[in-house]
Protein backbone atom coordinates (compact mmCIF):
# COMPACT_ATOMS: atom_id res chain seq x y z
CA UNK A 1 0.00 0.00 0.00
CA UNK A 2 1.24 3.48 -0.87
CA UNK A 3 1.48 6.30 1.66
CA UNK A 4 -0.96 8.33 -0.44
CA UNK A 5 -3.59 5.59 -0.30
CA UNK A 6 -3.03 5.00 3.40
CA UNK A 7 -3.55 8.72 4.05
CA UNK A 8 -6.65 8.81 1.84
CA UNK A 9 -8.19 5.95 3.79
CA UNK A 10 -7.06 7.23 7.19
CA UNK A 11 -10.37 8.72 8.35
CA UNK A 12 -12.48 5.88 7.00
CA UNK A 13 -10.19 3.43 8.79
CA UNK A 14 -10.38 5.30 12.09
CA UNK A 15 -14.18 5.44 11.71
CA UNK A 16 -14.35 1.68 11.15
CA UNK A 17 -15.71 2.19 7.62
CA UNK A 18 -13.03 0.24 5.74
CA UNK A 19 -13.52 -3.40 4.77
CA UNK A 20 -11.49 -6.15 6.43
CA UNK A 21 -8.93 -6.70 3.64
CA UNK A 22 -8.15 -3.00 3.36
CA UNK A 23 -7.92 -2.72 7.15
CA UNK A 24 -5.30 -5.46 7.26
CA UNK A 25 -3.34 -3.76 4.45
CA UNK A 26 -3.44 -0.46 6.32
CA UNK A 27 -2.29 -2.07 9.56
CA UNK A 28 0.58 -3.73 7.74
CA UNK A 29 1.59 -0.45 6.06
CA UNK A 30 1.44 1.53 9.30
CA UNK A 31 3.73 -1.03 10.95
CA UNK A 32 6.34 -0.45 8.25
CA UNK A 33 5.97 3.30 7.69
CA UNK A 34 6.71 5.56 10.63
CA UNK A 35 5.48 8.72 8.84
CA UNK A 36 2.05 7.17 8.29
CA UNK A 37 2.05 5.67 11.79
CA UNK A 38 2.66 9.13 13.17
CA UNK A 39 -0.07 10.69 10.99
CA UNK A 40 -2.54 8.00 12.09
CA UNK A 41 -1.71 8.50 15.75
CA UNK A 42 -2.08 12.25 15.45
CA UNK A 43 -5.39 12.01 13.64
CA UNK A 44 -6.73 9.43 16.06
CA UNK A 45 -6.18 11.70 19.05
CA UNK A 46 -7.53 14.70 17.14
CA UNK A 47 -10.74 12.86 16.25
CA UNK A 48 -11.11 11.87 19.90
CA UNK A 49 -10.69 15.53 20.77
CA UNK A 50 -13.40 16.58 18.28
CA UNK A 51 -15.75 13.94 19.65
CA UNK A 52 -15.33 15.17 23.21
CA UNK A 53 -15.33 18.88 22.28
CA UNK A 54 -18.35 20.89 23.42
CA UNK A 55 -20.00 21.14 19.99
CA UNK A 56 -23.55 20.26 21.03
CA UNK A 57 -26.01 23.03 21.73
CA UNK A 58 -29.05 22.75 23.89
CA UNK A 59 -32.26 23.91 22.31
CA UNK A 60 -33.10 27.22 23.99
CA UNK A 61 -36.02 27.53 26.39
CA UNK A 62 -39.14 28.27 24.46
CA UNK A 63 -38.11 26.53 21.24
CA UNK A 64 -40.00 23.35 22.10
CA UNK A 65 -43.05 25.44 22.93
CA UNK A 66 -42.77 27.45 19.70
CA UNK A 67 -42.43 24.26 17.65
CA UNK A 68 -45.44 22.70 19.37
CA UNK A 69 -47.59 25.74 18.72
CA UNK A 70 -46.48 25.97 15.11
CA UNK A 71 -47.33 22.29 14.59
CA UNK A 72 -50.67 22.71 16.28
CA UNK A 73 -51.49 25.62 13.96
CA UNK A 74 -50.44 23.51 10.97
CA UNK A 75 -52.48 20.58 12.33
CA UNK A 76 -55.54 22.79 12.69
CA UNK A 77 -55.25 23.89 9.08
CA UNK A 78 -54.79 20.30 8.00
CA UNK A 79 -57.79 18.90 9.88
CA UNK A 80 -60.01 21.24 7.90
CA UNK A 81 -58.50 20.21 4.58
CA UNK A 82 -58.69 16.53 5.52
CA UNK A 83 -62.43 16.63 5.92
CA UNK A 84 -62.68 17.37 2.21
CA UNK A 85 -62.60 14.19 0.16
CA UNK A 86 -59.13 13.17 -0.88
CA UNK A 87 -58.72 14.36 -4.46
CA UNK A 88 -56.72 11.39 -5.72
CA UNK A 89 -58.95 8.81 -4.11
CA UNK A 90 -62.18 10.42 -5.30
CA UNK A 91 -60.84 10.55 -8.84
CA UNK A 92 -60.11 6.84 -8.72
CA UNK A 93 -63.50 6.17 -7.29
CA UNK A 94 -65.19 8.16 -10.07
CA UNK A 95 -63.33 6.26 -12.71
CA UNK A 96 -64.39 2.98 -11.08
CA UNK A 97 -68.00 4.13 -11.19
CA UNK A 98 -67.59 5.15 -14.81
CA UNK A 99 -66.27 1.69 -15.58
CA UNK A 100 -69.26 0.08 -13.90
CA UNK A 101 -71.68 2.18 -15.95
CA UNK A 102 -70.03 1.23 -19.22
CA UNK A 103 -69.31 -2.42 -18.80
CA UNK A 104 -72.38 -3.46 -16.85
CA UNK A 105 -72.95 -6.22 -14.37
CA UNK A 106 -69.95 -8.33 -15.25
CA UNK A 107 -67.69 -5.39 -14.61
CA UNK A 108 -69.40 -4.81 -11.31
CA UNK A 109 -68.47 -8.27 -10.08
CA UNK A 110 -65.01 -7.82 -11.49
CA UNK A 111 -64.39 -4.43 -9.95
CA UNK A 112 -65.63 -5.29 -6.50
CA UNK A 113 -63.24 -8.25 -6.47
CA UNK A 114 -60.16 -6.74 -8.11
CA UNK A 115 -59.44 -3.99 -5.59
CA UNK A 116 -59.43 -6.60 -2.83
CA UNK A 117 -56.91 -8.65 -4.75
CA UNK A 118 -54.60 -5.95 -6.05
CA UNK A 119 -55.19 -2.63 -4.32
CA UNK A 120 -53.54 -1.74 -1.02
CA UNK A 121 -55.52 -3.67 1.57
CA UNK A 122 -57.81 -1.87 3.98
CA UNK A 123 -55.50 -2.98 6.79
CA UNK A 124 -52.50 -1.44 5.03
CA UNK A 125 -54.20 1.87 4.45
CA UNK A 126 -55.76 2.08 7.90
CA UNK A 127 -52.54 0.88 9.54
CA UNK A 128 -50.67 3.76 7.90
CA UNK A 129 -53.36 6.23 8.98
CA UNK A 130 -53.24 4.91 12.54
CA UNK A 131 -49.43 5.21 12.70
CA UNK A 132 -49.61 8.77 11.36
CA UNK A 133 -52.33 9.70 13.85
CA UNK A 134 -50.34 8.16 16.70
CA UNK A 135 -47.11 9.94 15.81
CA UNK A 136 -48.89 13.24 15.23
CA UNK A 137 -50.48 13.00 18.66
CA UNK A 138 -46.99 12.59 20.14
CA UNK A 139 -45.22 15.18 17.99
CA UNK A 140 -47.74 17.94 18.50
CA UNK A 141 -47.83 17.02 22.18
CA UNK A 142 -51.54 16.80 21.69
CA UNK A 143 -52.23 13.44 23.21
CA UNK A 144 -55.40 14.36 25.04
CA UNK A 145 -58.20 16.91 24.71
CA UNK A 146 -59.61 15.78 28.02
CA UNK A 147 -56.89 14.75 30.44
CA UNK A 148 -58.05 12.67 33.38
CA UNK A 149 -57.83 9.12 34.66
CA UNK A 150 -61.52 9.25 35.55
CA UNK A 151 -63.53 7.15 33.10
CA UNK A 152 -66.72 8.90 34.22
CA UNK A 153 -65.31 12.16 32.92
CA UNK A 154 -63.82 10.87 29.67
CA UNK A 155 -66.89 9.00 28.44
CA UNK A 156 -69.38 11.90 28.77
CA UNK A 157 -66.80 14.22 27.21
CA UNK A 158 -67.40 12.48 23.87
CA UNK A 159 -71.15 13.08 24.07
CA UNK A 160 -72.22 15.44 21.33
CA UNK A 161 -68.81 15.24 19.68
CA UNK A 162 -69.33 11.79 18.17
CA UNK A 163 -72.33 9.97 16.72
CA UNK A 164 -71.49 6.93 18.87
CA UNK A 165 -70.52 6.30 22.47
CA UNK A 166 -67.15 4.60 22.97
CA UNK A 167 -66.50 2.33 25.94
CA UNK A 168 -64.05 3.96 28.35
CA UNK A 169 -62.59 2.06 31.29
CA UNK A 170 -59.64 2.78 33.53
CA UNK A 171 -57.21 -0.15 33.97
CA UNK A 172 -54.85 1.42 36.53
CA UNK A 173 -55.16 -1.68 38.69
CA UNK A 174 -53.95 -3.81 35.77
CA UNK A 175 -51.01 -1.55 34.87
CA UNK A 176 -52.68 0.41 32.06
CA UNK A 177 -53.86 3.69 33.59
CA UNK A 178 -56.29 5.80 31.57
CA UNK A 179 -54.75 9.16 30.61
CA UNK A 180 -57.64 10.80 28.77
CA UNK A 181 -59.40 11.11 25.44
CA UNK A 182 -59.10 12.99 22.19
CA UNK A 183 -61.03 13.49 18.99
CA UNK A 184 -59.30 12.19 15.89
CA UNK A 185 -60.09 11.64 12.23
CA UNK A 186 -59.57 8.21 10.67
CA UNK A 187 -61.01 6.18 7.80
CA UNK A 188 -62.70 9.39 6.55
CA UNK A 189 -64.72 9.86 9.71
CA UNK A 190 -64.49 11.13 13.28
CA UNK A 191 -63.02 8.64 15.70
CA UNK A 192 -62.51 8.47 19.45
CA UNK A 193 -58.91 8.21 20.64
CA UNK A 194 -58.66 6.85 24.18
CA UNK A 195 -55.20 7.27 25.65
CA UNK A 196 -53.63 4.84 28.11
CA UNK A 197 -50.14 4.51 29.49
CA UNK A 198 -47.93 1.51 30.06
CA UNK A 199 -45.14 2.94 32.19
CA UNK A 200 -43.81 5.84 30.14
CA UNK A 201 -45.27 4.52 26.87
CA UNK A 202 -48.51 6.03 25.59
CA UNK A 203 -51.07 3.73 23.96
CA UNK A 204 -53.62 5.19 21.56
CA UNK A 205 -56.85 3.21 21.24
CA UNK A 206 -58.87 4.40 18.24
CA UNK A 207 -62.56 3.52 18.07
CA UNK A 208 -65.18 4.10 15.40
CA UNK A 209 -68.36 2.26 14.30
CA UNK A 210 -67.87 -0.73 11.97
CA UNK A 211 -69.80 -1.47 8.84
CA UNK A 212 -73.06 -3.26 9.73
CA UNK A 213 -72.52 -6.91 10.59
CA UNK A 214 -68.73 -6.67 10.43
CA UNK A 215 -66.76 -8.73 12.94
CA UNK A 216 -63.02 -9.23 12.65
CA UNK A 217 -60.72 -11.24 14.83
CA UNK A 218 -57.67 -9.56 16.32
CA UNK A 219 -54.77 -9.09 13.96
CA UNK A 220 -51.35 -7.75 14.93
CA UNK A 221 -49.08 -5.65 12.70
CA UNK A 222 -45.72 -3.96 13.08
CA UNK A 223 -45.09 -0.71 11.29
CA UNK A 224 -42.24 1.76 11.68
CA UNK A 225 -41.34 0.28 15.02
CA UNK A 226 -44.87 0.42 16.42
CA UNK A 227 -47.12 -2.51 17.19
CA UNK A 228 -50.73 -2.28 16.08
CA UNK A 229 -53.67 -4.56 16.85
CA UNK A 230 -57.01 -4.16 15.15
CA UNK A 231 -60.30 -5.95 15.69
CA UNK A 232 -64.03 -5.37 15.27
CA UNK A 233 -66.77 -6.49 17.60
CA UNK A 234 -70.08 -5.26 18.96
CA UNK A 235 -70.46 -2.85 16.05
CA UNK A 236 -67.16 -1.05 16.71
CA UNK A 237 -63.77 -1.15 15.02
CA UNK A 238 -60.75 -0.86 17.32
CA UNK A 239 -57.12 -0.07 16.54
CA UNK A 240 -54.57 -0.08 19.37
CA UNK A 241 -51.06 1.26 18.75
CA UNK A 242 -48.01 1.75 20.92
CA UNK A 243 -44.26 1.28 21.16
CA UNK A 244 -44.65 -1.17 24.06
CA UNK A 245 -43.67 -4.74 23.21
CA UNK A 246 -46.13 -6.93 21.34
CA UNK A 247 -47.06 -9.08 24.35
CA UNK A 248 -47.93 -6.05 26.48
CA UNK A 249 -50.10 -4.66 23.71
CA UNK A 250 -51.85 -8.07 23.45
CA UNK A 251 -52.46 -8.02 27.22
CA UNK A 252 -53.92 -4.54 26.86
CA UNK A 253 -56.22 -5.60 24.01
CA UNK A 254 -57.38 -8.58 26.04
CA UNK A 255 -58.40 -6.23 28.88
CA UNK A 256 -60.29 -3.99 26.47
CA UNK A 257 -62.00 -6.99 24.90
CA UNK A 258 -63.26 -8.17 28.29
CA UNK A 259 -64.47 -4.73 29.31
Amino acid sequence: MSCKLSQDLMDAYLDGEVDLVRSLEIEQHVKECSACAHAYERRRSFVTAIKTAPLAYQAPDGLAQDVREAIRRAAGAETISETKPDRVRSWNWNSWLYGIGCAGALALVFLTTIPHLYGPSVDDRLGQEVVSAHVRSLMANHLTDVQTSNQHVVKPWFNGKLDFSPTVRDFSDRGFPLAGGRMDYLNNRSAAAIVYYRGAHPINLFIWPSKPGETQKEKIFTRQGYHLIRWSEGGMTYWAISDVNAQELKDFVELIGKA
Binding site: Q7, D8, M10, D11, A12, D15, E17, H38, A39, R42, R43, S45, F46, V47, T48, A49, I50, K51, T52, A53, P54, L55, A56, Y57, Q58, A59, P60, L63, A64, D66, V67, R68, A70, I71, A74, A75, E78, Q128, S132, V135, R136, L138, M139, A140, N141, R223, Q224, G225
Partner: protein, 165 residues
Amino acid sequence: MPHLDAAYTLARWMTRNPEDAHDIVQEAYIRAFRFFENYRGGSAKAWLLTIVRNTGYTWLRQNRAHDVDSVFDDEAFEVPERTPGPEARLVQSANQELIHKAMERIPLEFREIIILRDLEGFSYKEIVDVTGLPMGTVMSRLSRARSRLQKEVMERAGKEIEREL
Protein backbone atom coordinates in the same frame (compact mmCIF):
# COMPACT_ATOMS: atom_id res chain seq x y z
CA MET B 1 -40.28 17.03 21.23
CA PRO B 2 -38.02 14.33 19.73
CA HIS B 3 -34.40 15.14 18.74
CA LEU B 4 -34.84 18.86 19.32
CA ASP B 5 -31.31 19.40 20.64
CA ALA B 6 -29.77 17.56 17.69
CA ALA B 7 -31.90 19.55 15.24
CA TYR B 8 -31.00 22.82 16.92
CA THR B 9 -27.29 21.95 17.03
CA LEU B 10 -27.17 21.21 13.30
CA ALA B 11 -29.10 24.38 12.43
CA ARG B 12 -26.92 26.38 14.79
CA TRP B 13 -23.71 25.17 13.15
CA MET B 14 -25.16 25.73 9.69
CA THR B 15 -26.05 29.36 10.41
CA ARG B 16 -23.71 30.17 13.34
CA ASN B 17 -26.55 32.24 14.72
CA PRO B 18 -29.07 31.36 17.46
CA GLU B 19 -32.09 33.26 16.07
CA ASP B 20 -31.68 31.84 12.57
CA ALA B 21 -31.29 28.34 14.00
CA HIS B 22 -34.48 28.82 15.99
CA ASP B 23 -36.45 29.77 12.85
CA ILE B 24 -35.01 26.92 10.81
CA VAL B 25 -35.82 24.29 13.45
CA GLN B 26 -39.38 25.53 13.76
CA GLU B 27 -39.87 25.45 10.00
CA ALA B 28 -38.25 22.01 9.76
CA TYR B 29 -40.57 20.47 12.37
CA ILE B 30 -43.63 21.78 10.56
CA ARG B 31 -42.32 20.19 7.38
CA ALA B 32 -41.60 16.94 9.23
CA PHE B 33 -45.14 16.97 10.55
CA ARG B 34 -46.66 17.67 7.12
CA PHE B 35 -44.59 15.12 5.29
CA PHE B 36 -44.73 12.40 7.88
CA GLU B 37 -46.35 10.13 5.30
CA ASN B 38 -43.02 10.15 3.46
CA TYR B 39 -41.21 8.67 6.43
CA ARG B 40 -40.38 5.07 5.53
CA GLY B 41 -38.98 3.76 8.79
CA GLY B 42 -35.30 3.71 9.65
CA SER B 43 -33.62 6.23 11.91
CA ALA B 44 -36.12 8.92 12.82
CA LYS B 45 -33.23 11.17 13.84
CA ALA B 46 -31.56 10.88 10.44
CA TRP B 47 -34.89 11.56 8.74
CA LEU B 48 -35.47 14.62 10.86
CA LEU B 49 -31.93 15.97 10.41
CA THR B 50 -32.32 15.54 6.64
CA ILE B 51 -35.30 17.89 6.82
CA VAL B 52 -33.44 20.33 9.08
CA ARG B 53 -30.52 20.34 6.66
CA ASN B 54 -32.72 20.92 3.60
CA THR B 55 -34.62 23.66 5.41
CA GLY B 56 -31.31 25.19 6.46
CA TYR B 57 -29.95 25.22 2.92
CA THR B 58 -33.13 26.77 1.54
CA TRP B 59 -32.91 29.43 4.22
CA LEU B 60 -29.23 30.11 3.59
CA ARG B 61 -29.76 30.37 -0.16
CA GLN B 62 -32.46 32.97 0.42
CA ASN B 63 -30.66 34.94 3.09
CA ARG B 64 -26.95 34.32 2.86
CA ALA B 65 -26.24 33.02 -0.61
CA HIS B 66 -22.47 33.51 -0.31
CA ASP B 67 -22.30 30.91 2.49
CA VAL B 68 -23.74 28.27 0.21
CA ASP B 69 -21.82 29.40 -2.87
CA SER B 70 -18.60 28.61 -1.10
CA VAL B 71 -18.99 24.97 -2.15
CA PHE B 72 -15.76 24.09 -3.86
CA ASP B 73 -14.37 21.10 -5.62
CA ASP B 74 -13.30 18.69 -2.91
CA GLU B 75 -10.58 17.17 -4.99
CA ALA B 76 -8.96 20.50 -5.89
CA PHE B 77 -8.61 21.57 -2.29
CA GLU B 78 -5.41 20.25 -0.78
CA VAL B 79 -4.53 20.78 2.83
CA PRO B 80 -0.75 20.95 3.17
CA GLU B 81 0.59 18.30 5.49
CA ARG B 82 2.65 19.88 8.25
CA THR B 83 5.57 18.47 10.08
CA PRO B 84 4.59 17.88 13.67
CA GLY B 85 6.11 20.44 16.02
CA PRO B 86 5.25 21.81 19.44
CA GLU B 87 1.89 22.97 18.02
CA ALA B 88 0.93 19.42 17.14
CA ARG B 89 1.63 18.31 20.66
CA LEU B 90 -0.65 21.06 21.88
CA VAL B 91 -3.35 19.76 19.56
CA GLN B 92 -2.95 16.34 21.08
CA SER B 93 -3.55 17.78 24.51
CA ALA B 94 -6.97 18.53 23.02
CA ASN B 95 -7.88 22.06 23.89
CA GLN B 96 -11.55 21.60 23.30
CA GLU B 97 -12.52 25.27 23.44
CA LEU B 98 -10.04 25.78 20.63
CA ILE B 99 -11.85 23.18 18.56
CA HIS B 100 -15.13 24.97 19.07
CA LYS B 101 -13.60 28.28 17.95
CA ALA B 102 -11.92 26.63 14.97
CA MET B 103 -15.25 25.08 13.92
CA GLU B 104 -16.66 28.58 13.52
CA ARG B 105 -13.98 29.37 10.96
CA ILE B 106 -14.29 26.44 8.57
CA PRO B 107 -16.74 26.29 5.63
CA LEU B 108 -20.36 25.15 5.94
CA GLU B 109 -19.85 21.80 4.14
CA PHE B 110 -17.09 20.95 6.60
CA ARG B 111 -19.03 22.04 9.69
CA GLU B 112 -22.08 19.97 8.85
CA ILE B 113 -20.21 16.78 8.03
CA ILE B 114 -18.22 16.98 11.28
CA ILE B 115 -21.44 17.50 13.25
CA LEU B 116 -23.10 14.52 11.55
CA ARG B 117 -20.13 12.19 12.03
CA ASP B 118 -18.25 13.25 15.15
CA LEU B 119 -21.09 14.69 17.22
CA GLU B 120 -24.11 12.62 16.11
CA GLY B 121 -22.02 9.52 15.40
CA PHE B 122 -23.77 8.79 12.08
CA SER B 123 -22.31 6.06 9.89
CA TYR B 124 -21.05 7.05 6.44
CA LYS B 125 -24.15 5.40 4.97
CA GLU B 126 -26.40 7.53 7.14
CA ILE B 127 -24.49 10.65 6.09
CA VAL B 128 -25.06 9.62 2.47
CA ASP B 129 -28.79 9.36 3.23
CA VAL B 130 -28.96 12.71 5.01
CA THR B 131 -26.86 14.73 2.55
CA GLY B 132 -27.59 12.92 -0.70
CA LEU B 133 -23.85 13.00 -1.48
CA PRO B 134 -22.12 9.99 -3.06
CA MET B 135 -20.21 7.75 -0.64
CA GLY B 136 -16.84 8.73 -2.14
CA THR B 137 -17.58 12.41 -1.57
CA VAL B 138 -18.66 11.76 2.02
CA MET B 139 -15.35 9.98 2.68
CA SER B 140 -13.14 12.60 1.08
CA ARG B 141 -15.11 15.55 2.42
CA LEU B 142 -15.00 14.27 5.98
CA SER B 143 -11.26 13.68 5.67
CA ARG B 144 -10.71 17.19 4.33
CA ALA B 145 -12.99 18.67 6.94
CA ARG B 146 -10.97 17.12 9.75
CA SER B 147 -7.67 18.16 8.14
CA ARG B 148 -8.93 21.68 7.76
CA LEU B 149 -10.19 21.79 11.33
CA GLN B 150 -6.89 20.39 12.56
CA LYS B 151 -4.99 23.07 10.63
CA GLU B 152 -7.25 25.76 12.04
CA VAL B 153 -6.75 24.49 15.59
CA MET B 154 -2.98 24.40 15.13
CA GLU B 155 -2.89 27.96 13.82
CA ARG B 156 -4.90 29.20 16.75
CA ALA B 157 -2.81 27.17 19.14
CA GLY B 158 0.32 28.66 17.55
CA LYS B 159 -0.97 32.18 18.10
CA GLU B 160 -1.74 31.42 21.72
CA ILE B 161 1.76 30.04 22.24
CA GLU B 162 3.23 33.19 20.68
CA ARG B 163 1.10 35.32 22.98
CA GLU B 164 2.34 33.44 26.00
CA LEU B 165 6.02 33.74 25.02
